[in-house]
């Protein structure tokens, strides 16, 4: 059994669907942060069989985790301070996501305009439906 030590301050992202941890790493742009990140893949889970876990040692105000709700709202976020879990963060669907998904509508201006960000707005919270800012196509 592989052992990864405790972190002093930061987040533990648990119950990530097995194999998805690198996607989350990319979406949170963890590669750009000067912090310690542990990526645990295919950990045993009673609930899920297999799961991924991300441990991020950083200032807890440094990361915007709202995008996680869009990617997978089953992920649990444990907030760590002084080596202890101090909070379990509820994931809230972000009102807007930028460059997380791409607009698939071939008629959308995002398909040709240089360096135009792919922005989606939350159109229906209940249905978790996002629409492209420019063409209103479903995300």
């Amino acid at each position: 059994m592989l052992n990864v030590g405790k972190i002093e301050e930061g987040f533990v992202l648990d119950h990530i669907k097995a194999g998805k941890s690198m996607d989350i790493y990319e979406h949170l742009q963890l590669g750009k942060l000067d912090c310690t990140v542990a990526i645990i893949k295919n950990a045993r889970s009673n609930k899920m069989g297999k799961k991924d876990i991300l441990k991020v040692e950083c200032d807890i105000n440094q990361l915007d985790l709202d995008v996680l709700a869009f990617i997978d709202h089953n992920i649990t976020v444990n907030v760590i301070k002084d080596g202890e879990i101090v909070d379990k963060k509820d994931l809230v669907l972000p009102k807007m996501i930028k460059n997380v998904i791409r607009c698939k509508n071939p008629r959308c201006i995002t398909s040709i305009e240089q360096e135009l960000p792919h922005i989606f707005f939350l159109a229906d919270e209940e249905k978790e439906l996002y629409r492209c800012k420019y063409c209103e196509e479903k995300g």
């Binding site: 008629r107 201006i109 305009e113 240089q114 063409c135 209103e136 479903k138």
Partner: protein, 305 residues
């Protein structure tokens, strides 16, 4: 600075002000003949649309302003690969207001984000065509006298027809509106529109045969099956003649039912219907100029009084 991307950019009250201004322009054209002296409208049309472009140009010329622009992407710097963002920055240096048509959906919004002048969406792909909607609303409110309590039939291409989508979005803001969607299965109104209607509790029905619903309509909005919206020629040929409005069908309609059409028509309304007093589509084109005049004045914040 205000732009027009969608008919919903204006509140119902702002629309009423716009329509009042448009009706005043109709009655007193001389009062507005020099309202835009020294102002320039740029018509940036990345795809051909003679009718909309000429309507905008006529509107500006009737206000005493001047017009410049291009009428297809090939004759603009887009052919050299220039982005919409760059083009509008340049156009902002040359003119006071811009009407943009683009085959890509959302292109006028990109322009508005970077523009130093008001931008009017003159049609973006299959998405929005707000000035057509303003034209439709002005026509209905002037000829019917009100925009509420109407049963509105929309017929033809309800899937790709942006004029239809824009009109529905605008009309749902008025009380006691009922819709009848008349289309072949392949060209049904998109789910997101019917979902929104359900959510708002606005009654609608979807039918295939026009004849059956004619007697119930206060207004029939005909549309053309547009070749440019199809990727596949076969589908276009199969569906283009699905609905043709003729005098026999008009006999089924109420004596005060109006027929509207965004034009150009191909053959979906027989020429013989033109003589029917209920055929309002040519008047609609005239109202299109008045409402664009009112829009230009409003966005440029010019008062002719």
């Amino acid at each position: 600075m205000k732009h027009l991307m969608s008919p919903l950019d204006f509140s119902v009250e702002e629309l009423e002000k716009l329509f009042t201004l448009a009706r005043d322009i109709e009655k007193n054209p001389a009062k507005y003949a020099h309202a835009c002296d020294g102002r320039i409208l740029a018509t940036c049309f990345y795809e051909p649309s003679t009718r909309t472009r000429l309507s905008f140009e006529s509107a500006m010329l009737r206000l005493g302003g001047e017009v410049l622009g291009f009428s297809e992407a090939a004759s603009s710097s887009a052919a050299k690969g220039e982005s919409v963002s760059d083009t509008i920055r340049i156009i902002s240096c040359y003119s006071d207001i811009c009407a943009m048509r683009h085959p890509k959906e959302g292109a006028p919004m990109v322009a508005a984000e970077k523009s130093g002048i008001p931008v009017i969406n003159a049609g973006d792909g299959g998405h929005q065509h707000p000035t057509q909607t303003l034209t439709d609303l002005l026509t209905i409110s002037t000829l019917k006298g009100h925009l509420d309590n109407l049963t509105i039939g929309l017929c033809g291409d309800l899937k790709f027809g942006r004029t239809v989508h824009s009109l529905i979005n605008a009309l749902v803001r008025y009380p006691r509106i009922r819709f009848v969607f008349i289309s072949p299965e392949e060209l049904r109104v998109p789910d997101y529109i019917t979902d929104a209607l359900k959510e708002k509790g606005i009654p609608y029905e979807e039918v295939i045969r026009l004849e059956n619903v004619m007697p119930s309509l206060d207004l029939l909005y005909m549309t053309r099956v547009q070749k440019e919206r199809f990727f596949n020629e076969e589908d276009y040929v199969r569906l283009k003649d699905f609905y043709i409005l003729d005098t026999a069908k008009m006999e089924l309609a109420r004596p005060d039912m109006l027929v509207l059409h965004p034009l150009p028509r191909v053959n979906e309304i027989s020429v013989e219907v033109d003589a029917d007093p209920r055929a309002a589509y040519f008047k609609q084109a005239q109202y299109g100029v008045y409402v664009r005049m009112a829009l230009i004045l409003t966005l440029l914040e010019i008062s002719a009084a």
